[in-house]
């Protein structure tokens, strides 16, 4: 088969799997698991073949036009360069791991068939985004991901948290998608095509007249999808979904789509210095703010959610200094270790029966209960904190190294201001990242106290996947940084000495300071008992997690916050802790700015509808109703009365007709 055929099959197989899963879910439950896992694994094999054949050489382009669509043609186009080929491999690896993990995680869930089908659809949509060479086709995948995330985040729709979170995820990403769509139309009008290759050609020829406007419009959509400030608020709440969904959304799909989109169209963004500075500021605020917020979260998954936002900030930071190679490199390694972190967190939540770090820190021997999750999560956290030689180190240093290049004026693509912003924010975030990674590890695995309720052995499908993902988390970066430049733009991705020393240094400082703070505060833990634990020795992990999420607010008073004096984050952040736990009150701000006016408008409209419009409608109905009451009196039920009336009417008509006929 040609490379093009294989590439078409890559998104098509999970799509067909999803359709078959949705159709057969009820009638043939035995087929659901194979239908979920096998198409994803097959497309993994195909994506690997495509990547091997493409080999980082000339991009594979294929195009067919289904039907003429008016002024600007919409074509089914493939554009597979090194970025697309490798991203597709990571997407399919993570999706395959998530599917296998889900068979264990949601093994007793009655809605597993629709869940697995939606995960497949999600994967297929992301693969469409990755391979598509036409922006309209890309948009289709982009929006399908939006609706799938709505369904998957709301999987436990019995709980109000999940319902609210799914709606929020949908609305916030749509808020970014509207300017995104307008930006796409403006771009296509100026370039005369939706094809990525033609658009990049037009950019190179200087054919785009308003690059700043278009870039900023597109940035809004990217900020929504990739959870960048100020549209990131949906992502921490999206933790109300099952853990494998979080792994899928946060590691390889959905949030990666925005970064990947900019990476594809980077020359367009480079054409506008203003857009690059905006991108850099967005990345810096996102990075630093999310890292502070992550340090204060109590829910283990929300820590990881904020860490995702921060790592995406690194990627957009790399894009702001015009190096998509570093951005996609970090995307790949982040995809591996973040998927691992989430899947391991799922195992821990199952074993501990709670998602609260405060409760875990009062539990003894949690790490002996889940040795696989303990070791793999340690690897992933070291990768997250960018400690050499784990893969996160190489990708993060690639970003910082590029920023340093820009600062010292070695490239002309990006403004030096963007370089400074990204470099400084990146170093601060490296410190904070190490701090929250250390805090997570200490609180989850170094707790003291009574043992957690036993939830039995973790299913093999869940623990095996962790080790599969631990391999790239450990080794991907070290092996890839020499090879990847051939696949990407050819920029060197080797860590530079200055940033490596600086980055690792601040990471170590962050880790050690957190450890010291933990030593200081952990003595309080025994004095303040805290925590609520969901104990279902027979239930599957999904049930335990759903209950843990639902009980966090009643047990601790807030979905993200626990008043735990033994938390090292409280000591480190000081008075900032309360605000960081609430995500710096951005949700409250949005509530005051947008939600309340909209609610007030809605109640005004309801008043107008109920009291004003309804009055007219009722008034219009009153006269016919009275007439009806009067006429109904005539209905006596006596047949002979009716016939008499009929006869009288006939006689009157006949007399009238005779009178008219005779002209009287």
């Amino acid at each position: 088969m040609t490379t093009t055929t294989l590439a078409v099959l890559v998104p098509l197989l999970p799509f067909l799997g999803a359709i078959a899963g949705l159709l057969l879910g009820r009638t043939a439950p035995g087929f659901v698991r194979p239908l979920a896992v096998l198409p994803t694994l097959a497309s993994l094999a195909l994506a690997a073949t495509v990547a091997w054949r493409q080999g980082g050489h000339q991009a594979v382009d294929a195009v067919t036009e289904l039907t003429p669509t008016g002024s600007v043609p919409v074509e089914l186009a493939l554009h597979i360069d090194g970025f697309a080929a490798l991203t597709a491999v990571v997407v399919t690896v993570v999706a395959g791991c998530v599917q296998i993990y889900s068979t264990g995680y949601l093994r007793d869930d009655p809605r597993y068939p629709s869940y697995a089908a939606l995960v497949s659809l999600f994967t297929s949509a992301m693969l469409l985004v990755v391979y598509s060479g036409d922006l309209m086709v890309l948009l289709v995948g982009w929006e399908v991901m939006g609706i799938c995330s709505y369904f998957l985040v709301g999987h436990y729709w019995e709980t109000p948290e999940a319902r609210a979170a799914s709606l929020k995820a949908f609305l916030v990403t749509k808020l970014g998608d509207v300017p995104f769509l307008i930006g796409l139309f403006a771009l296509a009008t100026e370039a005369g095509s939706f094809r990525i290759t033609r658009i990049l050609g037009a950019v190179a020829d200087g054919g785009i007249e308003h690059p700043t406007l278009i870039a900023l419009l597109l940035l809004a959509g990217v900020a929504g999808k990739s959870a960048q400030f100020p549209l990131h608020t949906w992502l921490p709440d999206a933790m109300a979904g099952p853990t494998p969904v979080s792994a899928l959304i946060h590691a390889a799909t959905m949030v990666a789509a925005g970064v990947y989109f900019i990476a594809r169209l980077l020359p367009l963004f480079e054409a506008s210095q203003a857009a690059m500075v905006v991108l850099a500021v967005m990345a810096a605020v996102t990075m630093a703010g999310s890292a502070l917020a992550a340090l204060a979260q109590d829910d283990i998954k929300r820590v990881l959610a904020y860490s995702t936002i921060g790592q995406l900030g690194y990627m957009t930071g790399a894009l702001a200094v015009a190096d998509r190679g570093a951005a996609v490199f970090h995307l790949l390694s982040h995809g591996a270790f973040k998927a691992l972190l989430f899947l391991a967190a799922g195992v821990i939540i199952h074993a501990a029966g709670t998602n609260s770090l405060a409760a875990m820190s009062r539990m003894g021997h949690l790490r002996d209960r889940v040795p696989d999750a303990y070791w793999t999560m340690t690897v992933a956290l070291l990768a997250l904190a960018a400690i050499p030689p784990f893969s996160g180190f190489f990708s993060k240093e690639a970003v910082l190294g590029v920023a340093e290049h820009v600062v010292t004026g070695h490239t002309g693509h990006a403004p030096a201001a963007a370089g400074w912003i990204v470099l400084l924010a990146g170093l601060v975030t490296a410190l904070l990242t190490a701090a929250y990674a250390t805090r997570l590890w200490l609180l989850a695995f170094r707790g003291h106290g009574p043992e957690a309720p036993d939830h039995g052995r973790q299913p093999l499908t869940m623990t095996t996947v962790l080790w599969v993902l631990a391999v790239p988390s450990l080794a991907l970066g070290g092996f890839a940084f020499r090879v990847l430049p051939d696949w990407f733009d050819g920029h060197d991705l080797t860590p530079t000495l200055t940033t490596s020393v600086l980055g690792t240094g601040v990471a170590l400082v962050g880790g050690i300071v957190t450890y010291a703070a933990w030593r200081h505060t952990t003595a309080h833990a025994a004095r303040v008992p805290l925590g609520a634990v969901a104990a279902h020795p027979e239930g599957d992990a999904g049930l335990v997690e759903a209950e843990a999420i639902a009980s966090h607010e009643p047990a601790y008073g807030d979905i993200a916050y626990a008043s735990d004096p033994s938390d090292p984050g409280r000591l480190l952040l000081g008075p900032l802790h309360r605000h960081a736990a609430a995500g710096f009150h951005l949700d409250a701000l949005y509530t005051a700015l947008f939600v309340r006016p909209v609610r007030a408008g809605a109640s005004l409209v309801r008043f107008l509808d109920r009291e004003v419009v309804e009055t007219y409608v009722r008034g219009a109905g009153a006269l016919p109703r009275w007439l009806g009451v009067a006429v109904r009196r005539a209905q006596t039920g006596n047949l002979q009365t009716y016939v008499s009336a009929l006869l009288a009417g006939t006689v009157v008509l006949a007399v009238a007709a005779v009178l008219v006929a005779t002209g009287a």
Binding site: Q635, T636, G637, N638, L639, Q640, V643
Partner: protein
């Protein structure tokens, strides 16, 4: 024969029928009065057909053909009508039109079983037969 004779006769018949429809209480007698009215019309049809065929040379005798149609339809009508009356009588124990006022405004339709005891059902019938008759 002059046209006036059958015309007057049919007018008399029609008026008799009309009086019966309007004044009789028994549903069967009302049906019989309807028959009278129909046959008055038939008589008119035949008489005018003869009269017209004499003057306007109408050779098709469409009036007589229509009369045959009317007779056939009247036969069907009386069959269905009598069946309905019979069913009503089995259910209600009466065929008095004045008492059959279910369609009156404000009338609460009572269930088929609510007044079983009050019925004057002739003879001894089983419940199954009754249900069949109701259906």
């Amino acid at each position: 024969m002059h046209l006036a004779y059958p015309a007057v006769l049919s007018a008399l018949l029609f008026c008799t029928g009309l009086y019966g429809v309007l004044a009789r209480r028994n549903a069967i007698l009302v049906l019989m009065s309807v028959e009278l009215m129909l046959n008055a019309v038939n008589l008119n049809l035949v008489a005018f057909d003869v009269w017209l065929s004499r003057t306007a040379e109408d050779t098709l005798h469409s009036g007589q053909a229509l009369a045959l149609f009317t007779i056939a339809i009247a036969a069907a009508e009386i069959g269905i009508g009598l069946a309905i009356v019979l069913a009503v009588y089995r259910n209600r124990g009466t065929s008095d039109i004045d008492k059959l006022r279910d369609t009156a405004e404000g009338h609460e339709p009572d269930g088929p079983d609510s007044d079983t005891t009050g019925r004057a059902v002739p003879g001894s019938r089983t419940a199954g037969e009754k249900a069949e008759a109701t259906a």
